[in-house]
């Protein structure tokens, strides 16, 4: 077990790689009541074309299957894992993203037992035709719930605009039609391919004794027989740099129009320190351009084009990435036009100075400090970072080393006319 010390933050991180390849991290948090643990596989909605374990040919699986599998893992021959967790005083949950599926619990008592339950339920699948059929009704209602949510539709509408073929454009839960074809055998095939310990990471944060927890995980894993796993073969079609659609309008049962503009990122194959630097630089760029203290925000707010729903965000993973800016607006056409103009203006490099870099940097450092109050943030973000070869605890040092030149370069690389797209939600009547 190795110990990593972050003295400035007053945190210690313990790490060990198990013999079967599982990466385990433990971050003791003194004074906290709760222990939070996530058990995550590097498998999400985009991994829909791959060579199943032991097979030579690529298969393409139905949309929404990673999320479906997440639901089904909670059901066992003797009932529902939620019940077991709550008998042990824990609350359990799970989520599926584009690139990850995470299972988690939090509890203030019985931590060792809950951890055992977490590891075991994820490593002991139990799928039957009957329970798979039953889940289709539940997930169907989850899909319908998101279909009624205009912000979710707007978000996915924008991603669909950006991508020609990359599976990031597919809704994580799939559709009622696509999940209808899911069978228990397909679930097992996905499970065998992606849930090997060497493709997973366990993170425990809370008032725990790291030696004891590590020993418990070691013993648990030693009892299970995992064969050596070859590298997972995923396939993604080539995606061109320009967006698939420049604009889209969704008519929905709303009173207030919504508008988002997106920029499809290029240079998304990078990982590790290079990716960390790019991601942070783009975040600083967006802060300077659209943060609440920015001239742009003030101007748009004063004109009544945006309100407090306005937000911006940057997402990057291996193989895709995008920036998004927008929110509710009275005049979606005008807002789209203005946001696009602001973006293109920033490409000419005259808007970044030492002063706004320093301010954005200070803001980011303070925000990071606030975030590490949260066990959820630490576990989930650390895992995401690790799957991309990055180190969460490098965020502050990398921010400190950022220069105006870095921001200029990030802006000029991110922004390009042919990679900008717009999605609007408009009232039906």
């Amino acid at each position: 077990m190795e110990k990593l010390i972050f003295s400035q933050l007053d945190e210690n991180l313990f790490h060990e790689r198990m013999d079967n390849g599982l990466e385990v991290y433990i971050l003791p948090k003194k004074g906290f009541n709760k222990t939070y643990a996530t058990f995550t596989t590097k498998y999400g909605s985009i991994d829909n074309t791959f060579k199943p374990l032991g097979k030579e040919e690529y298969v393409q699986v139905p949309d929404g299957i990673a999320h479906f599998l997440e639901h089904k893992l909670f059901e066992k021959a003797d009932g529902d894992v939620f019940q077991q967790f709550s008998r042990q005083g824990a609350s359990a949950n799970a989520f599926t993203s584009f690139t990850r599926t995470a299972y988690l619990f939090s509890s203030t008592s019985n931590v060792e037992r809950n951890l055992e339950t977490l590891i075991d339920f994820v490593q002991e699948p139990y799928f039957t035709e009957k329970t798979v059929e039953k889940e289709k009704g539940i997930i169907g209602q989850e899909i319908n719930m998101y279909d009624d949510n205009p912000d979710w539709r707007l978000y996915f509408g924008l991603i669909e605009n950006m991508y020609h073929s990359h599976p990031v454009k597919i809704d994580i839960a799939g559709t009622n039609e696509s999940i209808a074809s899911i069978t228990k055998d397909m679930l097992y095939e996905c499970y065998e391919t992606f849930y090997h310990p060497s493709n997973m990471l366990l993170f425990v944060v809370g008032p725990v004794n790291p030696e004891k927890i590590m020993e418990q995980v070691r013993e648990n894993q030693a009892q299970k027989n995992y064969k050596e796993m070859p590298d997972i073969q995923r396939k993604f079609e080539n995606e061109t740099v320009e967006v698939a659609e420049k604009k889209k309008i969704l008519k929905m049962n709303v009173q207030t129009p919504k508008c988002l503009i997106g920029v499809k990122a290029e240079n998304t194959e990078i990982q590790g320190p290079e990716m960390l630097k790019q991601e942070l630089a783009v975040n600083l760029v967006l802060d300077v351009l659209f943060g609440k203290s920015s001239a742009n925000y003030t101007e748009l707010y004063n004109e009544g084009l945006i309100d407090d729903s306005f937000s911006y965000d940057y997402t990057q993973e291996k193989g895709f990435g995008f920036a998004m800016v927008g929110g509710d607006t009275r005049n979606p056409d005008k807002l789209a036009e203005r946001l696009k103009a602001k973006m293109l203006e920033a490409k000419d490099r005259s808007v970044f100075y030492e002063e706004n870099l320093n301010r954005a940097r200070k803001k980011k450092i303070g925000t990071f400090l606030r975030a590490v109050n949260s066990p959820e943030y630490i576990a989930n973000q650390f895992t995401r970072f690790a799957f991309n070869g990055m180190d969460l605890f490098e965020v502050v040092p990398v921010l400190e080393g950022m220069t105006v030149q870095d921001m200029k370069q990030a802006a000029s690389q991110l922004i390009a006319e042919e990679r900008i797209t717009v999605c609007k939600v408009l009232p039906k009547k």
């Binding site: 008998r87 289709k136 949510n149 729903s309």
Partner: protein, 425 residues
């Protein structure tokens, strides 16, 4: 040692609550003020904190104020207007880095408290009026906020349930006020209301973090000075009950949203309140509860099926998202489950499981600064001092019979269903 170590002191016009803890890398300052919900003032109140946070005498322009926050290592300033029981509560929350994790000496807590004092005590006002362009901008945003509640159908249906169920009671008043009243607000009458609110509201200041008690107290004394007051309280009626009414509304939605309101006749601080909490946990509060099992897991009718309590108003709300044609079946199951709870058809394991999960939830809430403030604030709303320790102890000793007794007090009041239009599906 108690679960939350709080030092409380009555200062001039408000009460100071200091929670010293080493858990966090930031310090959190929360200013809360409450008064009974009233139609005449709801909209003014919904607007006031947004006008205050956008400028002050020291920072007449919003971008200057926001830049200053960024310079204070991204201090977050957040205002909020919430309904807690039949009170309309305004909160100003400022969270700021603890300088000791930044390796520097800038006294951030002091600067943060000074800024908060600037914002609430020295607003940008001339000749008894707020700056009119600021007021107009924020009126526009408030209008949008009211409209946007319509667009989120889950939120909309729970708002509609309350409107129907509590018609005529203060609890039915929209916490964001009304579109009609926004038009009547000017820089002058809003400023008048500002003076009124700060001279008569019940006000509390919370400071949570790795702080020095004496320093916080002396800063608070110096920075925040108001007149003494005798804040107005409201006696919430727990007895109102309509005979079961059903309200259906058609809209273009894919999923029907079913929201059911019940009267519990039990409020926070009542002797049987802990029993009610355990009841709700067994019935619908968690993913091991009856509603989750029977509506979702057994019959695959819904993705979400849950209940929650509005503790200070004596209301329980049940919600589920379902196919429109599954309305009858779902309502039938929910009624059956409620009836079974009244008959005592739950076992000891469900009781102990639920108590454990409630305790867990409570302890987890204390791991965030805002959670700590929310727990403490319950005592202010109810005007009853119940510590977290006392509360947990009461909950742990709840008996099976007490849960049944609490269940028997519950009356179904209103069923609200937002359903898809026929032929739309």
């Amino acid at each position: 040692m108690s679960l939350i170590n709080v030092a409380e002191k009555r200062l001039e016009g408000f009460k100071l609550h200091i929670v010293k803890t080493k858990k966090f890398k930031t310090n959190t300052i929360v200013w809360r003020m409450k008064t009974p919900l009233k139609k005449e003032t709801a909209t003014l109140r919904a607007l006031l904190p947004y006008v205050l946070q956008s400028s002050c005498r020291k920072f007449p322009e919003t971008p200057a104020l926001r830049s200053y926050l960024d310079d204070l290592y991204g201090a977050s300033l957040h205002v909020d207007v919430a309904k807690k029981g039949e009170y309309q509560v305004i909160s100003f929350t400022l969270e700021i880095a603890n300088e000791k994790f930044l390796g520097q000496q800038d006294p951030l807590l002091k600067k943060g408290m000074e800024l908060l004092a600037n914002i609430i005590m020295e607003p940008l006002a001339v000749n008894g009026a707020f700056d009119s362009s600021t007021v107009e901008k924020e009126k526009r945003t408030l209008e949008q906020r009211i409209h946007s509640a319509y667009d989120d159908k889950m939120r909309y249906s729970s708002l509609r349930l309350i409107e129907e169920m509590c018609e005529g009671e203060p609890y039915a008043i929209n916490v964001n006020g009304s579109l009609k009243d926004i038009g009547r607000i000017s820089g002058v009458n809003l400023y008048e209301y500002y003076l009124q609110a700060f001279s008569s509201d019940e006000m509390d200041l919370y400071v949570v973090g790795d702080i020095e008690e004496e320093e916080v107290e002396s800063l608070s004394k110096k920075l925040f000075i108001f007149n003494d007051r005798n804040p107005e309280r409201i006696e919430t009626s727990l007895t109102e009950n309509k005979k079961e009414q059903v309200v259906k509304e058609e809209q273009d939605v894919k999923q029907g949203k079913l929201n059911i309101g019940c009267r519990t006749h039990i409020a926070y601080g009542d002797p049987d309140y802990a029993a009610l909490q355990v009841f709700n946990g067994i019935f619908g509060g968690f993913s091991h509860s009856k509603l989750f099992l029977n509506v979702r897991e057994k019959e695959s009718l819904a993705y979400y099926a849950a209940s929650r309590l509005e503790s200070h108003k004596g209301i329980m709300m049940i919600m589920a998202g379902i196919e429109s044609d599954k309305y009858n079946r779902t309502v039938e199951i929910i009624k059956e489950q409620l009836e079974e709870m009244k008959q005592g058809s739950f076992n000891d394991e469900e009781i102990s499981q639920t108590k454990l999960v409630i305790e867990n939830q409570m302890l987890e809430t204390m791991d965030t600064a805002r959670g700590i403030v929310d727990i403490l604030y319950h005592s202010v709303i109810a005007a009853k001092d119940v510590t977290a320790d006392e509360w947990l102890k009461a909950m742990e000793t709840v008996s099976r019979n007490e849960i049944i007794a609490a269940a028997k007090k519950i009356d179904l009041d209103t069923i609200y269903f937002l359903t898809g239009k026929e032929g739309d599906q």
